[in-house]
Amino acid sequence: MPHALRIAGRCALALSLVILFISCRPSSEVASDKVVRVNLGTEPPSLDWSVATDHVSFNVIANLMVGLTEFDRDLKPGPVIARSWDVLEGGKRIVFHLRDDVLWSDGKKVRAQDFEYSWKRLLHPKTASEYAYILFDIVNAEAFHRGKIDDHRLLGVTAKDDRTLEVRLRHPASYFLSITTFEVTYPQRQDIIERYGAKWTEPENIVTNGPFLLASWKHEDEIQLRANPRFFLGRPAIERVDMYMINEKTTALALYEQGRLDFLDNHSIPIFEKPRLVKHEGFRSVPQLRGYYYGFVTDRKPFDDARVRKAFALAIDRTVFPKILHGGEEPATSWIPPGMLAHNVEIGVRYNPAEARRLLREAGYPDGKGFPQVTLGYNTDEDHKIVAEAIQGMWKQNLGVLVRLENQEWKVYLSKLQSDPPHIFRLGWGADFPDPDNFMRLFTSLSGNNNTRWKNRRFDELVDLAAREWNTQKRVQLYNEAQKILCETDLPIIPLFTTAESTLLRPRFAGLEYNSMSRLVLRDVRLKNSQ
């Protein structure tokens, strides 16, 4: 009976897929005491910190390397390789004084020249780094990146000697120190990169200076880090970190519960399991500097009308999100996230269905009548789907407008946002460095990541003024005004909530936490009984 056979065949296929899922697990060796096993979720696209753009890559790099500064608990940049720094000429010149005792993994000392080389490499047009713009405040950086200047000696970054790095800026940039906490500004070894080319990040070639060394990298499978005995802040308490690449949340959770993984994060915990896992001893929820928003494409009907955009924003009840996502999300009406300078809960529009209906009527669509067919896009993911369906329901109920949902895989979705964006799109933004400039500059006219096509000269001006202002109070005022344009009058976006990272750590360990910038910091992990 061929039909029955085919059905049986399909069942067999499904079964074998399940078995395949289950068998895609880390090798079943017994964990030694001082090994922490974490799940990265996917293969890091690049371990070259001039090229990497995603948090999976940065989560590995952040444990291999240290830079000039890192931020403390209050998100202020504190010294690491830089012993101290002088801010001169009203903030236009910054001189970093480097420590003398930081070693590369091959025994050489970390020098100011390594920073100069790395920053110039980041800016070089050939590197084609997506993060080159982060250093555009440096004199001639933008022209160099665009190929208008060939001579790298004209750039405003110079190693005066082995221990002194001088940075000259086009204008005072109050957030520049924060930028030096970001992985893309970490030093690099010219000799290594020139010798090995694109293969310099392979474990047999790479030279690093951080708490861990890259011991092995089985692509699409596993990365192993080994404690760096020569790390200048002291050897980490654990010997080894195994980083797996299991992209199925359910599988990762099952592995944790079988004792084959020691640490899970949002990429490894299915949302519906969170209410159960909250009760576990090792569960933490860490608020992130990461905003989740819906953007409108503002140069097309019907969202070229600010009243329509505001009506859609007023019709969303944000209190629902923590209830359906179960992960400690914080509803947000304004854009700069809590924990960052100039965060202001007062700004933004709140749930008001009556006012929403009034505005929609005023814009010519009473009770949603005559409203054109619009599409809400998101990248395929269960969290985004559940949020989209909830909001679709609120708009239907409060405005009488039924939006269509459409989802694509992340890469397809990103390219679609450029070529043929849906009327409303979902995106998130995580802080690269903990300064409001990083969040607000996103929606300026020149930002490559501003998918709303919204341009507001006053907003651009305010963001620029705030960037040059060293007085904190004045900066906050400028950002308040800019946020009011963004979240109250013009509303090219609807901020929805700031996310939290849920993590689960096997209770025999302590000290492993995400920081608020979504970085996995393994340096301080230790066994609980060996304090």
């Binding site: 085919r6 299915p270 209830k323 269960e382 559940i386 369906e389 909830a390 949902l405």
Partner: protein, 285 residues
């Protein structure tokens, strides 16, 4: 045949008939419930109830609620429309394309037959799931797109069966007789061949429906199925199951009930097919 064997055979037949009737009744009930869903359930398939998220079965929500507090029973009722429409619609599309194709191929014979059958061989050898995925991406993720995508893949089975039956029927004496007295091709096909091959094709049709339901569920499960909770059509069972599988360990009801709906419906269609074959095509047993 001994009397004992006869009695056993009768019992067996009675049992089969009961199963057939039960299956028919189940299919009728599911169809009816699906299309009368708005009358049967006080809830909307899309109604968000933030206070009742992820509840287990209770008096007010017979099958519990999902991650947005939507009533699962209501969603399954609405889902029945999608899954049954996809099942029956796909099978019909396949039936029309496949039977015509097989009829032409078998009746014409010769090199045309060989050519047409080689094409069928090629289509048959393509991996179904891959073609579903490609076509459903091309045709869009709505009910029409999925119907067409599945229909365009599953017609080959009908083509083969129809051709085989036509080849047999062509050789029957009465067809030869009809040809001898000068009946037209159309008349021969319509009056003499079609009635003779209808039985096996109908049986194939009954087996195609559950296969299509399963295929749509598979598509939904990998995230390419029908999901439009606010349209009249709603969300298919496969998508409901997909929603639930990550919650399987803590909230098993979200995947269990849609899964059971798929399971019993497919089982019923298979029993129905078996029963029909016994009646219409006793030789093919």
């Amino acid at each position: 045949m001994s009397r004992q064997n006869e009695a056993e055979e009768q019992r067996r037949q009675r049992g089969q008939r009961a199963l057939l009737l039960l299956s028919l009744a189940f299919i009728a009930a599911v169809t009816l419930c699906g299309f009368l869903a708005p009358l049967l359930s006080p809830y909307s398939p899309a109604g968000l109830q933030e206070g009742r998220i992820l509840e287990g079965p209770s008096w007010s929500h017979w099958l519990g609620t999902d991650g947005l507090g939507r009533d699962l029973f209501t969603r399954i009722l609405y889902g029945a429309r999608v899954s049954l429409t996809v099942g029956i619609g796909t099978a019909l599309i396949a039936l029309i394309i496949g039977s015509l194709y097989g009829l032409i191929s078998g009746y014409s014979g010769g090199p045309l037959d060989s050519l047409l059958m080689r094409i069928v061989d090629v289509v048959y050898s393509l991996p179904d799931l891959l073609i579903f995925i490609l076509l459903s991406l091309l045709l869009g993720r709505n009910i029409a797109g999925v119907l067409l995508a599945l229909g365009l893949v599953s017609w080959v089975r009908f083509a083969r069966i129809a051709r085989g039956q036509v080849l047999q029927a062509k050789e029957f004496v009465y067809v030869e007789g009809a040809r001898a007295i000068g009946a037209s091709h159309l008349r021969i096909i319509m009056r003499h061949i079609l009635p003779n091959i209808a039985g096996p094709i109908l049986v194939t049709l009954t087996f195609s429906i559950p296969a299509a339901i399963l295929a749509e569920s598979t598509l939904s499960f990998i995230g390419l199925g029908i999901n439009d909770p606010y349209s009249e059509w709603g969300t298919s069972w496969g998508t409901l199951a997909q929603d639930g599988w990550r919650a399987m360990r803590t909230y098993p009801h979200i995947i269990l009930f849609p899964g059971l709906a798929i399971f019993f419906t497919i089982l019923s269609f298979n029993y129905l097919g078996n029963g029909l074959r016994d009646i219409l095509d006793p030789k093919g047993k």
